[in-house]
Symmetry: C2
């Protein structure tokens, strides 16, 4: 079955000291650590385009998987809402060229924010099955530094730039199990770009996550015939430390520590947050079953079970 064979990432080494940035807004280190959750926010260079971040992540993937011939990639999906150019052409076409992939690749962008990786996994697996393809590259890259106003205290302390690349193919160790998805466009205004600047209603987004995500995870487990105890770890979108903590406590009063929190050096990397957790914590683990969940812009959410095949 087609599943996750490998994950690699690119996190720019340059960036912002978030404690220094927090101090500018009168926030102490306790707040930055405990509520925001990031002491450092990686930032791409001004001249780096979104496609360049994708290329770095893909090259890291190829480097760590010498058995994967880049010329065998036959589908490439880029999950982004901040691609190159002005939306046309799509970033995936530019990445095809920069990586020197075969022109026989099916390449397109999926427009989703923080829920994008969960959707992307099922989109690429499904596309591969429906079209009879063998090796997929699922890339996430949504550099919010393009749209965040450094003077906006609601957003500038939260977001970091990063990209990830996931190799999807047959005989994968990690398989995709049950999934559940949801969309509520009535909340679209809570996360949107106007005149090139990103706006977020933090309170509304926090409430949305706290109400929606634990219930969605319970629904997913029920649909899968699983108990919380069957899940080794919950890798959910790292919106902020406060969001991860609140969702974890509401979902799992007994074992909130099963919710992985690891965003201190990256911040909220949008659709890259879940694959960054999986790369770092799941791939080399002894875990048997992991629940993932992404939620954000749209409003949109998606949760799924990953299991060892």
């Amino acid at each position: 079955m087609i599943g996750i064979k490998s994950i690699a990432s690119y996190v720019p080494t340059a960036g912002l000291d978030n404690y220094v940035q927090g101090a500018k807004f009168g926030k102490d280190e306790e707040f930055m650590f405990g509520k925001i959750g990031a002491s450092f926010l990686p930032r791409k260079a001004e001249e780096q385009e979104t496609s360049d971040l994708c290329v770095e992540a893909a090259r890291a993937l190829f480097a760590s998987n010498p058995e994967l011939d880049p010329q065998s990639i036959d589908v490439l999906i880029v999950v982004t809402q901040n691609g190159d150019e002005e939306g046309l052409p799509h970033t995936a076409a530019i990445v095809q060229h920069k990586l020197g992939l075969s022109t026989r690749v099916a390449a397109f962008d999926v427009s989703l924010g923080c829920s994008g990786y969960v959707y992307g996994l099922y989109a690429i697996k499904g596309f591969m099955q429906a079209a009879g393809l063998k090796n997929g590259l699922l890339i996430t890259a949504d550099p919010y530094s393009k749209i965040v106003d450094p003077q906006d205290r609601n957003t500038t302390m939260l977001f970091g730039d990063a990209a990830t690349a996931t190799w999807m193919g047959e005989d994968a160790v990690w398989q995709l199990g049950e999934a559940r998805f949801g969309t509520d466009g009535s909340g679209a205004e809570h996360l949107k770009v106007t005149n090139g600047n990103f706006f977020m209603n933090g309170r509304q987004v926090f409430n949305f996550a706290l109400v929606k995500v634990p219930a969605h995870l319970h629904e997913l487990l029920d649909a899968s015939g699983l108990q919380s105890a069957d899940i080794d770890a919950f890798c959910i979108h790292q919106g902020s430390a406060a969001i991860v903590d609140a969702v974890a406590r509401r979902f799992e009063e007994q074992h909130p520590e099963k919710f992985v929190k690891d965003m201190l050096e990256t911040g909220n990397t949008v659709s890259s947050s879940v694959p960054l957790l999986l790369q770092k914590h799941m791939l080399d683990s002894s875990w048997q079953r992991v629940a993932i969940s992404g939620f954000g812009v749209g409003l949109s959410w998606g949760s799924a079970i990953l299991y060892r095949g």
Copy 2:
């Protein structure tokens, strides 16, 4: 098997008399009819957003399929590169809300241009299979009137606004067969938006279509074990009358008339051109097997066989 159950569309009744427009650029009616292929170019109203075109097409689909409960839609994909807002949130979330669909819908945009419907068919079928979903809505809406400069003779005579909605589900009459895809980002510059204006290198795009599409269709037929005589009709992207004619002659010297040409009242409607042809010519036909092909922005192309199941 999941396939195409129904297709509906929305074509604005307002628009441009393209013969009058052609005359401004010194083009006579023979040129407009024979080379451009459109006597009329539908134009959305200024206040209509892309999501509004999607909603009109979806409502037409629901009206013509009373057995389809809108609340049963569990996945919604919008194919566009000219969505609402500034790319964030995605248009599919806005459409979910405007249509009053269930919040249990998986909704996202696919960023592709004139090749988008072919990719979209396999993306939505695959996503439905991978995630266990039942009723899909595949919408195309890419109103180029947002980005075409009325003074640019290379583009303003070509593009019309339209939207289509395709119902995907089980027990469908029309099934998806073999498909082939391709991407060449080295040609990205031939079709792109800069500072809000669309640029097209018409000669390069014409040559690309003429070299790539007939060969791609032959490859698709070979892979399917089919001869040209097994295909009742070819419904390819209606880039211009000249492109359709040239591709048809190069592919099928004996029967170029099997290439459906129907764009006189719509022009080039980007990702809506293929589903508009299918709605009008395939659904009520006695055809057994149809080949479709889309090609354009990216550069990107995709071809597939549709057959009665």
